[in-house]
């Protein structure tokens, strides 16, 4: 080894430069792969459309959420179908179905993103603690995670939401809490796999503190499966939010613009107006499809095994 090598060694081992470079190339390669994947593009388009509709709901919807412009037209045995004024018809209460769907996109996106955020933050915290400290901290955390996984997820969410009260906030918390063990286990496993890598040994032998090694080296290299899972979880969260409000746990009035709630209301109208169930159901399914397509494509793009091909 020459003198020059020795003097350049520390700068090459600089944590910031090293991890950023590796991270960027990983994500750059992933992005390039995503652009070529029709599934990823389809998923991204669906998700983007959904986000835009949710963001610009006041401009797109013809009526306010919960407004009942067609109230006078509804008869006990007859609910008017599509017309010029109401492109998708009106529901049992006289609300414009199209407007309700648009506002429902906002509600679903909010619940989906917030609950996944709750699950992601809680799970990453637990996973980080378990993965960074190991030993009895790890054992204890993982037993708690096992405990949460010992109850089927929807039932756990239902029990939590039933206790904290029948509001949309409790739905967010319930779905988020159910996701915590999944993220925790994923991050921990990913961190454990990274800990044995050579670059970690190199970083520690350079005298970096354990905290620096964990936070700046191991963690950034462990998050990609967690990010993929979060994308897929958004689909689950949207479906589970609809399921919880279908079971009557979302709270609010029956006219609330929320896809799951709209499906519940449509249940009694199945013989008179099946379209009332069809549209919110299609919205939930398409949104979930978008997140799933994109998440799967992201997983493929970030997977080093498939990147080689």
């Amino acid at each position: 080894m020459t003198e020059a090598d020795l003097t350049t060694a520390p700068s090459a081992g600089d944590p910031r430069a090293g991890s950023d470079d590796v991270g960027a190339s990983l994500w750059r390669v992933a992005f390039r792969r995503l652009r070529r994947n029709p599934g990823a593009i389809a998923g991204a388009v669906i998700v983007l459309a959904f986000v835009l509709v949710a963001a610009f709901a006041p401009l797109i919807a013809n009526y306010d959420a919960g407004e009942l412009p067609g109230r006078a037209d509804v008869r006990p045995t007859f609910i008017p179908g599509p017309s010029d004024e109401f492109p998708l018809g009106i529901d049992r209460y006289g609300a414009d179905l199209f407007s309700q769907l648009v506002w429902g996109a906002r509600a679903s996106l909010l619940v989906g993103v917030l609950s996944t955020l709750v699950g992601l933050l809680g799970g990453m915290l637990l996973g980080l603690v378990a993965g960074a400290f190991g030993g009895w901290v790890d054992a204890l955390t993982m037993r708690a995670v096992d405990l949460m996984l010992s109850v089927p997820s929807l039932l756990l969410a239902v029990s939590i939401a039933a206790v904290i009260g029948q509001t949309s906030t409790s739905v967010i918390i319930a779905i988020g809490v159910v996701q915590v063990p999944i993220f925790a286990r994923l991050l921990r496993g990913s961190m454990l796999a990274q800990r044995g890598q050579d670059y970690v040994l190199a970083a520690s032998s350079l005298g970096l503190s354990r905290r620096t090694v964990t936070m700046n080296h191991v963690l950034p290299n462990s998050v990609s499966p967690v990010i993929v899972q979060a994308t897929l979880m958004l689909a689950t969260a949207v479906i589970e939010a609809a399921a919880l409000s279908f079971l009557g746990l979302g709270g609010g009035a029956p006219t609330t613009a929320e896809w799951g709630r709209m499906l519940t209301a449509a249940q009694n109208e199945l013989e008179v107006a099946p379209r009332l169930a069809l549209w919110p159901g299609v919205c939930i399914a398409v949104t979930a499809l978008g997140f799933t397509l994109f998440g799967e494509a992201l997983r493929e793009a970030l997977d080093p095994r498939s990147r080689k091909r």
Binding site: V151, P152, V158, A235, G248, L263, G281, A285, A288
Partner: protein, 334 residues
């Protein structure tokens, strides 16, 4: 093998104890405490105090917990505030209905999912394959209760091929020695009763089985694709193994390992999905009862059912692990 089973059952004990602590604290964390849960929110302070004394809610927490666990150990899960019957009795009355539903759903999921995934893998990159991949993707993203709606509307309301609700025609006079209606009809030779129960099961079982079907098909496809390119398959082919034998004994058997794990993971999904499917089809199982308990804030039922379902779930997973040993000889030696 026996050691594995015993070990797993021993592990079940701390899990259930932990869960019982959570559920115990859960009901006590209710706004207004457990007395309010029993009496409703408009209970008078005197009534609350009376209930607290009657059920021992005024005693130290640890003492209450020990008493609670003691009751659980003797099978006492409390009383439903809505029906005034023991929770365990309510559970056992409805459990056979849900078992019939989930078993049929799983049979549909496995019976269609594995062949579908296998065929897709054999014709990788062709139309059958693409169609299977797309269909399974849609199968995963369609909410169970929405699919239940669609099936009910099309096949029950519009076409009238299947009944839209219930477990058996109310006019059907049948005896039920076991509570498993399909089995009961076979035992008592009341064939029409059995048939009627099956007809009632078809739509809910398809709805419930849809997601597991999609997942099983996907995993089977991926697994078969991976296995058929493995070195040992090439070796087997090179040594002149007959094609049918190669497919059944080498490819399919090895590809089934991840599939059997996946099937085990579906049990939780099925139990969760049963709550939604049974509600849509007014099917009198534990799922629809649980949904009613949510509506009525029947906490004793919620708490008891969640605990019992956790036990069922754990035992089902254990059964899967045991079956794993039957498929994979390497597992037997451990």
């Amino acid at each position: 093998m026996i050691r594995l089973v015993l070990q797993r059952i021993a592990l079940l004990v701390p899990t259930l104890l932990g869960l019982s602590v959570l559920l115990f604290l859960w009901v006590r964390a209710l706004p207004g405490g457990p007395a309010t849960a029993l009496l409703g929110e408009r209970a008078t302070p005197e009534a609350v105090e009376r209930i607290n004394r009657l059920y021992g809610f005024d005693q130290p927490l640890l003492q209450q917990y020990l008493k609670y666990v003691g009751q659980l150990a003797t099978g006492n899960f409390g009383t439903s505030t809505r029906t005034n019957r023991p929770v365990l009795e309510e559970f056992l009355n409805r459990f056979p209905a849900t078992v019939e539903l989930t078993v049929l759903a799983l049979v549909i999921a496995i019976g269609i999912g594995i062949p579908l995934g296998y065929v897709a893998a054999r014709r990788q990159g062709r139309l059958t394959d693409h169609a299977t991949v797309v269909a399974s993707l849609i199968g995963v993203t369609i909410p169970v209760f929405f699919l239940a709606f669609l099936l009910k509307w099309l096949f029950a309301v519009q076409l009238g091929w299947f009944p839209s609700a219930g477990r058996q025609d109310p006019s059907m006079v049948a005896t039920h020695p076991t509570g498993f209606y399909v089995l009961d009809g076979l035992l008592t030779r009341e064939w029409d009763a059995s048939w009627d129960a099956i007809v009632h099961l078809v739509l809910p079982a398809i709805a419930l089985g849809s997601i597991p079907l999609a997942i099983i098909a996907r995993i089977t496809r991926a697994s078969v694709i991976e296995v058929q390119n493995a070195d040992y398959v090439r070796t087997a082919r090179a040594k002149g193994l007959r094609r049918t034998r190669l497919r059944s004994r080498v490819i399919l058997r090895n590809a089934m390992l991840p599939v059997s794990t996946t099937i085990g993971l579906q049990v939780g999904l099925l139990l969760s999905g049963a709550v939604l499917t049974e509600t849509v089809f007014a099917y009198p199982g534990i799922g629809s009862f649980l949904a009613e308990a949510i509506f009525n804030l029947d906490y004793a039922v919620l708490q008891g059912f969640v605990l019992i379902i956790a036990v069922v779930y754990a035992l089902a997973n254990l059964a899967v692990d045991v079956s794993y040993g039957l498929i994979d000889p390497r597992m037997r030696t451990r």
